[in-house]
Structure formats: structure tokens, C-alpha cells
């Protein structure tokens, strides 16, 4: 890993260090583990949003074109992704990461 990335991680870790000390957790969440979640969360949030829209669009299309299509479409999705994608509707306006 480059020195630049490492420095960013140190910065992120120190940035979120205070959060972990304030957390009311009975297990230690770990400062580094909190920091990396913000980084990963930032990376995956957009992808997850697209996935959510993709599956909801797929479901809408399926309902327009009838049941047989719906079965086909939902059957083609990987189970975990379909579960996550179809069943959640997080408020996108809160995405500040």
C-alpha cells in the first residue's frame, strides 16, 4: 500500500478516534475499525443505491409485464443481493458520507 493511502488512513483513524471513545458499546469497536467503515461506507453507498434502484425498476417492469416476467426477473437475481436490494428503501438524503 502506498505511503499516501497509509497517511490517509492515519488521518481518518485520528479523525474518528473520538467517535469510538464516545460510543456506548460494551465491546470495543476499535478506532481503526470505525475509521475504515467510513471509508468503505463511502465507497459502497453509491453502488448500493444504484443496486436498490435497479431492483426496484426491475420489479416495476415485472409488474407492468405480468407475473411470468416477474418470476423470471426475481429468479435471476442472486438471493442475497435480491434480498438487500428489494427490501430496503433507505433515505438517500441522509447520505453525507
Amino acid at each position: 500500500m502506498s505511503l499516501k493511502v497509509n497517511k490517509s488512513l492515519i488521518l481518518a483513524a485520528s479523525f474518528f478516534a473520538l467517535f469510538s471513545t464516545n460510543a456506548h458499546a460494551y465491546i470495543d469497536p476499535g478506532t481503526g475499525s470505525i475509521a475504515i467503515q467510513f471509508l468503505i461506507g463511502g465507497l459502497v453507498a453509491a453502488g448500493f443505491m444504484i443496486k436498490t434502484y435497479y431492483y426496484s425498476l426491475k420489479n416495476k417492469l415485472a409488474s407492468i409485464f405480468g407475473r411470468s416476467n416477474e418470476d423470471k426477473l426475481s429468479g435471476s437475481a442472486p438471493s442475497g443481493d435480491a434480498l438487500a436490494g428489494n427490501s430496503v428503501s433507505p433515505d438517500n438524503s441522509t447520505d453525507k458520507t
Binding site: 485520528s14 465491546i27 448500493f48 434480498l83
Partner: protein, 465 residues
Amino acid sequence: MSVNRIPGSFRDPSGFLYLSEETLLRQVNQSYAAHFDHLVSSGLYEQLVTEGLLIEHQVVDNSLRATDDVYCVLKPELIPHLSYPYEWSFSQLKDAALLTLDVQRQALEKGMTLKDASAYNVQFLRGRPVFIDSLSFEINEEGAPWIAYRQFCQHFLAPLAIMANVDISLNQLFRTNIDGIPLHIATSMLPWRTKLNPGLYMHIWLHVRSQVAATQSQRSSEQSASNKPSKQFSQNAFYGLIDSLRGAIQKLEWKPGGSEWFDYYQANNNYGEDGLEYKENLVKQFVSKAKPSSVWDLGGNTGHFSRLAAAEGASVVCWDIDPGCVESNYRQVSQEQETNILPLLIDLSNPSPSIGWANSERLSISERGPVEMIMALGLIHHLAIANNVPLPDVSEFLKKNCKWLLIEFVPRGDGQIDKLLSSRQDVFSEYTPEGFEKAFSQDFEIVDKVPVPATKRTLYLMQAF
């Protein structure tokens, strides 16, 4: 009223498990009241129980409380046999991981989050993993990340990654690391190519770098009060994190096969077709005579004989030393939706010990017994010859753990014994049918004994004194 706290239930201040007059109860403490109420009023509890993801409980009278700090008292459904991640096959740990993520996702949808993600929060019930800690749910503080993320990676992702990419037996590291596999240990073993897997790169490789960076920043006191975070962990980021972990876990695969015992009954079983069928009938006959409700099938391979006992109505734990056999057995349990067989991994020459705080958090194999019947088919020579355990010691261990014993004696002249003795000195003068009966007669009454045709082996049904 006598109250015995369960030793493994002390970490979480929200409540604890205890035995009251031999009934297992869980006290919910006052400090957890708001979270417990939300779990129920949001419909999350009912939803998870209906889907078979969370253990069901009954709320019982507060007069059964253990301390005055009580909010309410729960009586959870009992798990017939407790098991631990160092006894699970690859797919058992993988299914437990996916269950934890599914529970976490549904919790998020109801405004809650899992405050811990320990593999010990999962047990196997009726062939499926189930989340057993009703007090793990906490009202989700808006903008907060997942407190249990590190624990999830240590308890599930890292062990599965090293089992799939380094060696399948490395789940044994759970025995020495009660809080899961530290990520720096995982990265010290994982091959470089795992960095090309985005899920493993982010959640393990980058994660460990972040942990190192955090330690460095704490040492150099770079943080200050002005560093108070202004950013929030968005809902999309949270769902994305769970989805990403799910993808990483799902991509990890391990295929059984090629091991010494994996295809034993198909390839080389020392019985021939007639002998095997006769042995099956004998096992059924002996099991139906003893009518055990609980059975341990020690050295049970892929569960061939366990299924005969299960068909007689017993709840069976099929223990085996070979991760391939346990994996294959579990896959069959899942596929056939079998409800009364639990395949588990064990090396009987070094069985699961008591571990954790005061050596009492996780129970040894004997502390989880005794059962009504132990089946030890094709096993005795592995203990007495391959592992040099004197026959009276084998008998004593078995007696400690069962009432009925269905055991097969494998004498010299059998193909398996010849193989074991081919490369070593035969120092086992007591290892004869007479020596076997003499040793076991100290602890058991021999109820029946029948030679297995076309073999040199004999099946015994014994009852402990």
C-alpha cells in the same frame, strides 16, 4: 429459590442467562428496557422468529428473576446441543455469518442494530443456524457506524477467508482466540492474491491497515478535541456495508473431497455390501432396543449410521475428525432439511476443552453430556492403536458420557488394523477381543454382542453401571 448464572453469559450488562430450578431463563435488566420494548413493538422480534432466524422465548413472571435489577424474564427455547465455531464445518460457519448479516439487515429496517456479532450468538437448531441472543439488539443511533463490525470480521470473515484460502483446519484458531481471529493474524497467512478480491481487500487487508494506523495515531497523540466527527454514517453506507460483507462471505467457497475418510463407505469400508447391510440392521435393532432420545455418533463419518439412529427418533450429534466429512454431512442436512442431526468436528485425541474466562465460558465436550447413547462404530482402533489410549481409559471416557454404548470391536486381521500396524511396532498385547471385553466390563454390562458377517468385527450393545 436457587439461581445459577450461566458462566458464558457475563459480558453484556443488558442481562444474563441463569438456571432457576433447572429451567433456563434470561433476565433482561432495567438498563435494556427501551431496547427490548423496541425489539418487540417494532415487530422485529416476531418477524425474525417467524422466519426462523431468532430463538423464540416466552415472557415469564418476574417473580422468577435472579436479581432486583430485573425488567422482565424470558424463557428461551432450549438448544438440544450447544456447539462452537471450532466444531463447525466451513458451510456451518458461512451460514452462521449470513444469518448474522440477515438479522442485522432486518434490524436496520426496524431502526435497530446488532451491538455484537459474535459467532457464539449462533447455534444450530433443527438443522439450521439460529440467532440465540435476544439482547444483542440496540436502538440504532442515527449516523453511527456498526459497532460490531470489527467483531463480525474477526468471528466470520477472517476465519472463513483463511479456511478457504490457507487451510480448512484453521477454524481451530477459535480455540486460542476467544474473540475471533485477529485480522493481523489473518493477513499474516492469507495469500497475496486475496487482495484482488474487493471484499477481502476492503474488509480485511485495508481494515488491518486502518487498525495499525489508528494505533499509530493514538501513540503520536494526533487526535484532539477539535477532531470531533462532523460526518454521519449514512443509511446507504450502512446497508452498503452489510451488502458488501454479504457478497464477500458468499464468494468464499470450500469443496470437500480428497480426504482420507470422505468416501470411506463408498470406496473402502471393510464390509462388502452384505456385511454393511447386516451392520445397518444390527445398529437399528440395538438403537430401537435402547430407545435413546439423544445420541453422539463418535467418528460418524458423513452420518450414515447417525441417520439410522435419527430415524428411530433420536436427536443425533455426528462427530468426526475430517472437515470434509462434516462439511458433506452438513450439506446433506441442509439439502434434505433434516432436523435431528447435527454434524460437528472433533479430534477425540484432543477434544474440545473448556475455554474462556475461568475456563467456563465455552464448555468441553463432556460438560455438554452425558447423552443417552454413544455410538462408536469403527472407532476403537483409532483411539487404542493409532493414539495409544489404553482400553480401560477409552471405556472410562465413554462411560462418563453415556448410559448406553453401541460399540464395534475391530480386531487384528481387519484391513484397517493391518494398515495402522504396518509402519509401527505392535505393542498392543491387550488389544484382543478378550482384553476389550475385560476392560469395558469394568464400566459396562454387555447386553448383547453379534459378529458382523463377512468381517472379523463384532458389534456390542452395553449399558453403563
